[in-house]
């Protein structure tokens, strides 16, 4: 797919003419040990169709049994989002035919979600706080996965045949739906990204999901519509799927705004449809057409009994809620005595948890912050990945910091060690050993190098002896060169001055 400029309207012009309205639907795969309605394991990446049973394959006669841990997770998510928890709710069947759905209906919730009416505060890069309303959070089961073989894009269109893997079928999902997000104007794409980021951080703090967008355990469908400036009636929306990273959320929203604006300005109509985000072009293409709003023939699931969480149970679960990300940020700011700006840099880099973990592993907060916000952020940018996706752990960073503190590495050497870890060369100590990076801290070896350098430049040596201490720099340079940078320059300088007394 190519994106020609005629297809989209200049972003500034979009904003002159239209107000965007967003609605974000996030699906979260819970990290329960077993599936939503049966005892099958949920591990990611197993051989296809090895984590299945009569229930999740939809064999005739098999019946579902609700996973209690998943219900607990759903309630905790609801509570963390400030939602009301239903005192009585049911599952419902969402009926539609698709080969990756074993029963040809999805057991979900319809008009009786377990949690509803909450909100989530987001902080944008400049510190602006936006409150996003949460419509509902409900429980459902995931579908299997289709693998389309023979087509150019891996999509069903043009495929020769398809393979089905039902390992994912029945994995517990929580779908979290926002209320319409209005009034964000030019910042709509940024708000979308910030929302998914904030939700991800929240879910991670709750320890209910792996929240890996790349593995599909956190998935975002972005609903976008435009309304002409000055009006309040929402336009026709599209739903963009296949948005697999935070950056893609932002790009997809921005693209849809410019595409829809171009259609509207050209006198066209927006079709209510599903659109497919293309990571490589940053554009979206038409998917399933929703000509009439699809009729899923919802009805209450007769194979399951209603869920009626008692007030005591809900309060017990409320007591298990961990420190929320925003509370944690406030505490960290106080503990580490950060300015608002410093905190924001930390947050914007997605580094809060990483820095905290690094500090927990023994580094000072200052060192930890320097590594993640300065050096590693650049590396993440270069690689185009999230900071947390870099192949280095907080413990490894803390170890490098410890080596520096012990004087065994210079800052320059430390960066080389980190590069080695990022390159997959193993633990920091292994990289030091393999690359021979340790600081030469053996004074006798340094004395020899200093003496050699002084002998090689007798005139400089004389100047130092004559009191021109600043001349020592040339000798330091020579020693550093001779030791291939593995000496501690400060120590070298001390030894030079000692020799020249």
């Amino acid at each position: 797919m190519t994106v020609s400029t005629a297809d989209v309207l200049d972003y500034d012009e979009v904003l002159e003419r239209f107000d965007p309205v967003l609605g974000l639907e996030v699906h979260v795969e819970l990290s329960t040990n077993t599936k939503m309605f049966c005892g099958c394991p949920t591990a990611f990446g197993a051989e296809p169709n090895t984590q299945v049973c009569p229930v999740c394959l939809g064999l005739p006669g098999a019946l579902p049994v609700v996973n209690g841990v998943a219900v607990e997770s759903a309630i905790r998510i609801g509570l963390a989002l400030g939602c009301d928890i239903a005192d009585w709710c049911r599952f419902a069947r969402k009926n539609y035919f698709y080969p990756d759905m074993p029963k040809n209906f999805q057991t979900s919730q319809y008009d009786e979600p377990i949690a509803f009416n909450g909100s989530l505060d987001l902080e944008l890069a400049d510190g602006t706080v936006v409150e996003v309303g949460i419509e509902r959070a409900h429980m459902e089961e995931d579908t299997g996965k289709s693998l389309h073989v023979g087509g150019a894009t891996g999509r069903i269109h043009g495929a020769e045949h398809s393979l089905l893997d039902y390992n994912r079928a029945g994995v517990p999902l929580i779908e979290i739906v926002t209320k319409p997000i209005t009034g964000t104007g030019a910042r709509a794409p940024e708000v979308a990204r910030a929302y998914v980021t904030a939700l991800r951080d929240l879910l991670r703090a709750l320890d209910v999901s792996d929240v890996r967008m790349d593995q599909g355990s956190l998935r975002c469908d972005a609903n976008v519509s435009l309304m002409p400036k000055g009006t309040t009636v929402f336009g026709t929306r599209t739903e963009t799927k296949n948005v697999n990273s935070l950056r893609s959320v932002e790009r997809a929203v921005r693209y849809e705004m410019t595409r829809q604006a171009a259609v509207l300005v050209g006198g066209g109509e927006i079709l209510q449809e599903t659109r497919h985000f293309d990571e490589s072009t940053g554009g979206t293409s038409a998917g399933r057409r929703k000509e009439t709003s699809e009729d899923y023939r919802y009805f209450p699931e007769p194979d399951l009994v209603p869920i009626a969480p008692s007030a005591e149970w809900v309060e017990k679960l409320r007591a298990t809620l961990p420190e929320m990300p925003w509370q944690r940020r406030k505490r960290i700011q106080a503990d580490w005595q950060l300015s608002d700006l410093e905190l924001r840099d930390l947050v914007n880099a997605g580094a809060v948890d990483l820095v905290a973990a690094t500090a927990d592993a023994g580094a000072t907060p200052g060192e930890a912050r320097a590594w993640w916000v300065n050096y590693l952020s650049q590396e993440a940018n270069t690689r185009g990945v999230e900071l947390g996706e870099l192949p280095i752990t907080p413990a490894q960073v803390a170890r490098v910091a410890a080596l520096v503190a012990e004087g065994r590495l210079t800052n320059k050497l430390a960066r080389e060690v980190v590069d080695g870890v990022l390159a997959g060369e193993g633990e920091p100590d292994a990289v030091v050993a393999a690359r021979g990076l340790e600081v030469v801290s053996d004074d006798s070896a340094l004395y020899a190098a200093v003496d050699e350098a002084l002998a090689a430049q007798p005139d400089v040596a004389d100047k130092i002896r004559g009191g021109k201490v600043q001349a020592a720099g040339a000798i330091v340079g020579a020693v550093m060169k001779a030791t291939k940078g593995q000496a501690d320059a400060k120590r070298v300088r001390e030894l030079i001055l000692e020799r020249c007394q």
């Binding site: 009569p54 939809g58 005739p60 006669g61 035919f97 007769p302």
Partner: protein
């Protein structure tokens, strides 16, 4: 015919457990009987000779070794409706779409039977996916009523009821969504029980209408049904709708009732179950049965359940709605029939072609009705309204049971009709379940016990006894007492009047 096939399950169990006869002998006698006459009756879709004999041998080994037998019914043969998944044994639900499907797992009912040492002879014929009242909707041929081979054995569980009446098995399992245990029992002169919804696990019972389906025992005597009820009943963690409570003491109630004393019992006759659709001979037999109950000391009063008149239409919205969803899984992707998987057909086309070829007319009719009733814009008017009727019917039952211990009615408005008589008139077919459906909608237990022969055609009539939820012991007691009085009046068990089928077979 071997005398062993004429005995009740209780009698057989006693002989097997004392070593008087072996379970293998009993099982062989029934397998021989099936071999001799099932070509004529066609009660079975699959006979598991090897599995049955192996199960019988295990019981005989227990008896020989002096080990306690697995249950009061250990070693007794049984016919299982082909709607229960049985690992390694074909399970078709009477449908082409599941022809040759061999489940990789067993239903809870099948497991409990195996664990109890009950010998499963095979799988019985049924209306496709339990939709029908005559077993004519089976994809694998009709079953004939042993009382008159030109007549239907009831449905959907016609195979199970016919196997009992033909002395092919002393016990059978059925499922009852709108009457599929009770109506076949009524027209074959056998006993059929629909337990309280949730009383018998549905795990592995291929769903027709999940909120109505209920498995239950079938037999030739009330006591045998009670013995089987206690084997298959009770809580199952694999079925969320299963009731976590002890099985009501039905065996004790059946034994108590056999004493023929119903003093202190209040019996309600449902006023609404009479009228133009009822056969004269059925109403006459029912009146005699009520008289018999009075004679046993019961106090009989008339009660009104005004909303029962709406049960049939409500049922024909709820059941098809749920069936349209339950049957969606038969799509050729993972198991069962696959049609059109060539010529570059898409998955969607294969699904459509398979369902077109694999489902019969009645199943398609109900899937269509249900799909329509659940559609947005129609949901409230159809499914929603039907659910409200359901609540009203439950309230009718509650009011009635505040006044009486059990309710009675004819089980079905007519005796067995002729094969082919109603195939072109679905509504006439549906009326066979007029009296049985309310108990399904309310989830309450009900049973049919033979109530003599109709004076206009000489065919069996059924007396339906209904009780409040989890009060099965009441209806067993009444049915057993009535059975005692009836046999006294008729000079022996009614079932002995079934014609000799060997003659017909030749």
């Amino acid at each position: 015919m071997s005398e062993l096939t004429r005995m009740t399950a209780a009698e057989l169990a006693a002989k097997i457990h004392t070593g008087e006869v072996s379970s293998v002998e009993v099982t062989r006698a029934h397998l021989d009987r099936i071999a001799a006459i099932d070509e004529t009756v066609h009660a079975f879709l699959h006979v598991d000779t090897e599995g049955a004999l192996a199960a019988a041998q295990r019981v005989d080994d227990d008896v020989a070794a002096g080990r306690p037998v697995a249950s009061p019914l250990a070693g007794v043969p049984l016919a299982l409706k082909d709607v229960f998944a049985t690992e390694g044994i074909p399970t078709t639900c009477g449908s082409r779409i599941l022809e040759n499907w061999i489940p990789p797992y067993s239903s809870t009912v099948a497991r409990r039977l195996r664990d109890a040492g009950v010998v499963v002879l095979g799988k019985t014929n049924m209306d496709e996916f339990a939709m029908g009242s005559s077993t004519e909707n089976s994809a694998f041929g009709v079953t004939h009523n042993p009382w008159d081979l030109d007549r239907i054995p009831g449905g959907s569980g016609g195979g199970s009821s016919a196997s009992l009446a033909a002395f092919e098995a002393p016990l059978a399992i059925g499922t009852d969504t709108g009457g599929s245990i009770r109506q076949p029992a009524s027209v074959t002169g056998t006993v059929g029980v629909k337990p309280t919804y949730g009383g018998v696990s549905r795990y592995g019972l291929v769903a027709f209408s999940s909120s109505l389906d209920q498995g239950g025992p079938c037999a030739r005597t009330v006591l045998d049904a009670a013995l089987l009820h206690e084997v298959i009943g009770g809580h199952d963690p694999l079925d969320s709708t299963s009731i976590d409570a002890p099985v009501p003491p039905v065996v004790a109630a059946a034994r108590e009732g056999a004493g023929g004393d119903l003093r202190g019992m209040r019996v309600g006759v449902v006023r609404e179950f009479t009228g133009e659709w009822y056969q004269g001979g059925v109403l006459a037999a029912f009146d005699l049965a009520v008289e018999a109950l009075r004679g046993l000391g019961a106090e009989v009063v008339e009660v009104s359940c005004p909303h029962f008149d709406y049960a049939l239409p409500a049922y024909y919205l709820i059941a098809p709605s749920e069936c349209s969803s339950n049957l969606a899984r038969f799509d050729a992707m993972r198991y069962g029939l696959r049609v059109g998987d060539e010529n570059g057909h898409s998955a969607e086309q294969v699904m459509a072609l398979t369902r077109e070829a694999g489902f019969g007319a009645e199943v398609k009719r109900r899937v269509m009705v249900g799909t329509y009733a659940l559609s947005s814009g129609y949901y409230d008017a159809y499914y929603g309204q039907a659910q409200k009727v359901r609540t009203l019917i439950s309230q009718d039952f509650e009011r009635a049971f505040a006044d009486v211990d059990v309710l009675v009615s004819p089980t079905t408005p007519t005796t067995a009709f002729r094969i082919g008589e109603r195939v072109d008139d679905p509504v006439a077919m549906y009326r066979a379940d007029l009296c049985t459906i309310p108990a399904n909608l309310a989830g309450t237990p009900a049973m049919s016990v033979p109530a003599g022969l109709s004076d206009d055609d000489g065919l069996p009539v059924g007396l339906q006894v209904m009780a409040p939820a989890l009060q099965e012991q009441r209806m067993y007691r009444v049915a057993a007492a009535y059975e005692f009085a009836r046999d006294a009046a008729w000079g022996g068990p009614l079932i002995n009047r079934v014609p000799e089928l060997e003659v017909a077979a030749r």
